[in-house]
Amino acid sequence: MKFGVVRFPGSNCDQDAYYVIRDVLRRPVDYIWHQESSVRGYDCIILPGGFSYGDYLRTGAIARFSPVMDAVIRHAQDGRPVLGICNGFQILCEAHLLPGALMRNIDRKFICKWVHIRVENARTPWTQAAREGQVLRIPIAHGEGRYVADDATLAELNAEGRVLFRYCDAEGTVDAAANPNGSMENIAGIANKNFNVLGMMPHPERASERILGSTHGRVIFESLLTALLRA
């Protein structure tokens, strides 16, 4: 079971993701340079956080056309897992692997803080180790994390259980006060139709060891390991 962490120019959470896979989950992992044309041999691809291509034009807009993305899109279309964290989520939206877009935070600030997110659907490869309604404490660090989509897309995401995480307070209440960035319906993470692609703004790789303040991010990686072992 092998992981690949894609490195774009400007990625800066690549080492965190790599570290969690290698040293916390103890699974094989490689970096994949964005100029590669194949991701063959990897079970799961991670698009890490950062500022690929300096966020020029729009976040993720240029990275989406990196040579490796054709292979990542094929990997996803084959039903294999792809996890996009923060800038990775933005890239997945630009690549149309996930619907909607991520816009500048409503209060215009770059927000770097611990937040709570509620697991909205625990019957997915990314959340099966969690309980439905479980509250995870995970940090965010972004300037453009305000999830937007049109009404039809939101209705479809809700109807299909594809909103995996919403921002909430410590008790699990999802309301405007618990929404850090103005995301529609407090959306923090969504999956594609087949649930093999997950995009989320919070950073589970920064919350996978007690010494870092929380181990709640591990539930996502451990869910995925279970899914991969079963496959």
């Binding site: 909607g100 877009a101 816009m103 409503i106 937007v148």
Partner: protein
């Protein structure tokens, strides 16, 4: 050599956080009559080839220059 001016703007229904900040700053500067500010992008393309300019630029806009989920675009060939 055709030159194309491309204007990319946020869809009117979406909140423009950057525009809001500039509006607040304009109010602070003593222009209380500014009711709304929308910020977009102005892109100048110089093309080598004169054929199919309209179609080519529309493709560029749909694929990269604008994100149709959140943005509208228009362009004009200026020379």
């Amino acid at each position: 050599m055709p030159q194309v001016h491309v204007y990319v703007t946020l869809k009117p229904t979406l909140l423009d956080a950057q525009g809001r900040a500039v509006q607040d700053a304009l109010h602070a500067l003593g222009y209380p009559d500014v009711e709304d500010v929308r910020i977009g992008k102005f892109i100048v393309l110089s093309l080598r080839d004169e054929s199919d300019v309209e179609q080519k630029v529309a493709d560029m806009c749909n694929r990269l220059l604008a994100n149709p989920v959140i943005e509208d675009y228009r362009f004009e060939v200026v020379k």
